[in-house]
């Protein structure tokens, strides 16, 4: 039996006004992006408590993406600036404890950037594929090496 290729699971929290619209646009433009992305539509990138990013990793995701509007374009004026601070906190905590902080990605993708959406998803999936499985999944379990 040939070895199955590693297919990462990437959970994306996409804001309703920009990145989710970009995902739609990428779809209607028939641009290809990998099926490893599991999008979750949220009203704003700032509504995602950073603990949910960690939670997704612990539930077995290999990476998480938080997608929001470009700085200055937030539908709620300042949501994405707050999201950026939160992601900075999560990444610093992960790095400080010796986890891989590049398993959390923050991207600004506006509603008209369907091609950028597809490109980012392709690139990040490739990147995570190369990195391999996350061992964060085994936090507080008996498994893992």
């Amino acid at each position: 039996m040939s070895e199955k290729e590693f297919e990462p699971v990437i959970v994306g929290f996409f804001c309703n006004w920009c990145t989710s619209a970009a995902a739609d646009l990428a779809g209607t433009s028939r641009l290809h992006y990998p099926a490893s992305i599991r999008p979750i539509r949220v009203m704003c990138s700032s509504t995602v408590d950073p603990v949910y990013l960690i939670r997704a990793l612990q539930e077995g995701a290999d990476a998480t993406i938080l997608g929001g509007c470009h700085p200055g374009d937030c539908h709620y004026i300042t949501g994405n600036y707050k999201a950026r601070r939160r992601v900075a906190i999560v990444k610093t905590v992960l790095k400080s404890l010796g986890f891989e902080d590049d398993r959390v990605l923050l991207e600004w993708i506006s509603g008209s950037e369907g091609p950028k959406f597809a490109r980012v998803m392709n690139e990040y999936t490739e990147y995570i594929k190369k990195k391999g499985e996350a061992d964060f999944k085994y936090l507080d379990s008996l498994g893992g090496e």
Partner: protein, 353 residues
């Protein structure tokens, strides 16, 4: 001695009508709690400089002013870490600073409350040890590596110098200056720089040596005896939320199948679930404002040296935002933002294209 002197100061202030109430530690059978007194006759019941910090004094002030500002002029005697907590909680709109005067002093450190219970120490003993710029070996880990053992200008109102000198008062704010003036006390000076520097040097060494690394294995081993009792959260003065993400919340309630699926996926899970997630989540929520009082560690029934986790990771977080909790005048990082910042955290390689 320094305690007697402070008591005299308090009686004087009562007599001059500058204060109407005092919050300071008072001895109990085995420990020290905070006490609130409103009459000068009660002054003998308190011990302003106590060898134990069972609670954070700023947390007590938060309880007093929770519903309404302080209706009487209150003098609060706080350690430097508590006065920094006070300042941080004022910024978080948890304490109304109106009518409150904070006095803080060169802190000799405090003894772990449990150790004190079995090996009591006279309050003056610790003060004696810092008279010549030293420190006691009995004090808590967090106190040994304290970054700000001396009162800081701009934090609190009145300072009391004990290092390398007979006790001297000095003002930390305009309010304090006015107060000392009305008391008829001339401000003194003392040289505590070398003493503070020593603490900071120990802190640097400690941070290098005691850092928790190794990702999953590292944190799991560190927390391996955690009871999930959440005492560290209850004692943390920064964890003031009425509704905690990790409690009274059905985020962590699942059907049985969810547990079985986890066990399938992860080759067996530990119960109760989410012990490490609780600590990582708490770091994310309060780490940027961690004062470093070390009460999380004192509260741990399993003696996990939690200050190694919160102190060091908190320090890393504060470096990212260039923020010193309780010292800086700007708002805590979780309360504000700038438009042009933190680009290294955007995108895969940092920086927007």
């Amino acid at each position: 001695m320094s305690n007697d002197m402070l008591k005299k100061f308090i009686v004087d202030a009562f007599e001059k009508g500058l204060i109407e109430a005092v919050m300071a530690p008072a001895a109990t059978k085995d420990s020290y709690t905070y006490a609130l007194i409103t009459k000068k006759e009660d002054v003998d019941k308190i011990t302003p400089i106590a060898p134990v910090m069972q609670w954070n004094g700023a947390d007590m002030l938060r309880r007093i002013t929770k519903l309404k500002k302080s209706e009487r002029k209150l003098l609060a005697i706080l350690r430097p870490c508590e006065s920094r907590t006070y300042k941080e909680l004022v910024k978080f709109n948890q304490i109304n600073p109106e009518n409150i005067i904070v006095l803080s002093y060169d802190c000799p450190g405090t003894i772990h409350a449990r150790n004190f219970k079995y090996e009591p120490v006279e309050p003056e003993n610790l003060v004696e040890e810092i008279k010549n710029g030293g420190k006691s070996e009995k004090i808590r880990d967090a106190c040994k590596v304290c970054e700000y053992p001396a009162p800081i200008p701009g934090v609190g109102d009145i300072g009391l110098g004990l290092v390398n000198t007979d006790p001297v008062f000095f003002s930390l704010s305009d309010k304090g200056k006015e107060f000392l003036g009305a008391m008829g006390i001339t401000e003194g000076e003392r040289d505590a720089d070398a003493w503070v520097e020593e603490h900071r040097k120990r802190r640097e060494e400690w941070m290098e040596k005691e850092r928790i690394t190794g990702g999953r294995k590292g944190i799991e081993e560190f927390l391996s005896s955690c009871l999930n009792c959440h005492n560290c959260k209850d004692m943390c003065p920064i964890c003031f939320c009425k509704e905690c993400f990790f409690e009274d919340h059905n985020v962590f309630d699942y059907e049985s199948n969810k547990f079985y699926n986890w066990a399938d996926d992860k080759d067996g899970i530990r119960l109760p679930t989410d012990r490490s997630l609780f600590h990582i989540g708490r770091l994310i929520h309060m780490g940027t404002s961690c004062i470093g009082c070390g009460l999380c560690q004192q509260a741990c029934p399993m003696d996990i040296p939690l200050y190694r986790l919160f102190g060091i990771v908190g320090n890393d977080l504060q470096k990212v935002f260039n923020y010193k909790p309780g010292v800086d005048d700007n708002l805590p990082p979780v309360m504000e933002f700038r438009e042009d910042e933190l680009h290294e955290f955007e995108g895969l390689l940092g920086g927007e294209e």
